[in-house]
Symmetry: C2
Subunit: 336 residues, 2 copies
DNA sequence: TTGTATGCGTTATCAT
DNA sequence: ATGATAACGCATACAA
């Protein structure tokens, strides 16, 4: 073997034609060797694959995608790449998509250039676009729908033709939690919210208010948070300086962790004097320093639902929109 | 306008040819209208773009990528999509790549099917492959190098031709921290590690040991963690039951948070009786309940370095390998 | 400045 | 079972 053979210095990508030449077969044979269920002598298939391996050949997915089939590319528009819940969510989703042979292209929705980014990514013939939290500009959603790209929104229902939705039963979750706390003997309820723009916070608040109304009560106090620990801390400080509730329900776990820290710092006994609960059940909620009672917003099930809707939509592109509602569960730990 | 016109039901993607027909120009004119710096009457360009917008035309990136230029696709192999540091890292990286017009395809390296996933993604003519933490099987790295895909590894140096590296000065970080604690008067040092397989934990331990040696000391105790809060909690419990160090250095922040929780639970006064410090400076480190003194492993600078190496490599594909070492910084909060 | 013609690497169709 | 050939949608060298 010559030195030249030893180090091919192949700058250009190996093509099917090269493999065909090397193996002494036609280009089509090579293509078939990489297509499951194609007519090809099994012995020849093995030989071709062998040659391909030696040459380092991989079918070019770009060219294959041009053929009209699926591209296997899926975009994920992530509203907030900083929040613990969303990042965990995306982590799971990516894993599931990988297992399915779908390749997720991530778009950071919080960036200033998010709209441009979406438009650029739309140049790829995507199998689907998944919206996670945040909000994609309406016109872009419409554009996707117009192009005919299946869209699945998670966390914020989108009522547009061609968009499927996965959403957790926010109000049910906080309603159950509130009922539980009432049954436990709590009487004076407060809520720390997130800005109105966040659909889920409003829904969660509704659940609290409904449960209280049913018991002939109402919220005694309320403060604005922003879904972050710092926001929860500040809101908790403000709220607990001016009121003495015995139950504090927070828009999410981050907020609750912040509020819990504030309460402890102010000398409140949790859960003796006050119950503080969150929503989501992020990893940190079960960290021993918090041991937070919360409402589980199940990532597994939500991702399952997304995958399910994705498969269904790819199978039947013209099917009508669907909305899968994901059930929550109370997670009773140490702060109630 | 007829009903038919109203709802075009366009299943097929709009192509440049359709736009050309609609605008009464040639196919190439349309192409030029979307290519910056191409010769085209500016008036005509505007008209073509207008028609394209109405029809919902986007150049097909798959077909464009086939042309031999860049695909603008970049794969990110993520070793651990659960750890707070890695997810934050990936979040930043995705944002930066988006801003550059590069589209990141995520591969979950912790999945069982990671190898298959990498091979499948390699079918796309990637502009680059970025390794974040974890470890990609060596043969796959070699395969990428052979194909000629630029690779950049972050968090774990890869010594293979064609692979650039970004790595934080782990040993420097813990050495500075140890020196600082020694100067502060701490005398009995302990370390909670991660499994040997993790390059960074070993490096960080080395820094501690070196600084101690220079002061004529050595580690009085050591326990095995696993880079998680739970692991840190357990290791902390074991360590503090059998020893009475006055400084506990942990392999990362998650470990430190776990150990800190354990220490408080056992009644230790932090920082009076013991200093507990971490590494990374994840978001949670500055949460008020922890207020953790730690070594910053700067995500911004690491991502900057990756982008820099990426640009340089794309500019000069044949350049020799580079390794950018990222400086750490002590972050002095409340646990020292 | 513009249109025509060719090539990119693959899969699908059609013969054989 | 296999090989030749036609799409796929675009960019670009070339001709006008």
């Amino acid at each position: 073997m010559s030195d030249f053979d030893e180090k091919p210095e192949q700058k250009k990508r190996v093509t099917a034609q090269m493999v065909a030449d090397a193996a002494g077969v036609s280009r089509s044979a090579v293509s078939r060797a990489f297509t499951d269920g194609a007519y090809l002598d099994s012995e020849k298939r093995v030989r071709i694959r062998q040659v391909a391996l030696e040459l380092g050949y991989q079918p070019n997915a770009l060219a294959a995608g041009l053929q009209g089939g699926r591209s296997h590319l899926v975009a994920i528009f992530v509203g907030n790449m900083r929040s613990p819940y969303d990042t965990a969510f995306v982590g799971h989703l990516v894993g599931r998509l990988n297992a399915l042979g779908k390749w997720p292209i991530l778009i950071d929705g919080s960036g200033a250039q998010a709209s441009t980014a979406v438009e650029d990514v739309l140049r790829y013939p995507l199998d689907a676009m998944i919206l996670r939290g945040g909000s994609m500009p309406e016109d872009l959603v419409l554009q996707c729908a117009k192009i005919g790209i299946p869209m699945i929104s998670s966390g914020r229902p989108v009522d547009i033709d061609g968009v499927d939705n996965v959403c957790c039963r926010n109000a049910d979750g906080t309603r159950s939690m509130t009922e539980f706390l009432i049954a436990q003997g709590r009487k004076k309820f407060a809520y720390i919210s997130a800005p109105r723009a966040y659909y889920s916070s409003t829904q969660r608040r509704n659940g609290v208010v409904q449960a209280l109304a049913q018991a002939g009560r109402e919220l005694m106090a309320e403060e604005d948070g922003d879904f972050t620990v710092d926001g929860g801390f500040d809101a908790g400080m403000r709220l607990l300086s001016n009121h003495r509730p015995d139950a504090l329900i927070c828009a999410n776990d981050a907020t609750a962790i912040g509020a819990l820290t504030a309460a402890k710092e102010m000398g409140w006994q949790v859960p003796d004097q006050i119950a503080i609960v969150g929503f989501d059940d992020i990893d940190m909620a079960r960290w021993p320093s918090f041991d937070l009672t919360t409402v589980m917003n199940p990532i597994d099930r939500s991702v399952d639902a997304i995958i399910e809707l994705l498969n269904r939509r790819l199978e039947t592109p013209e099917k009508s929109n669907e909305m899968i509602l994901v059930k929550t569960e109370l997670v009773l730990r140490g702060t109630h």
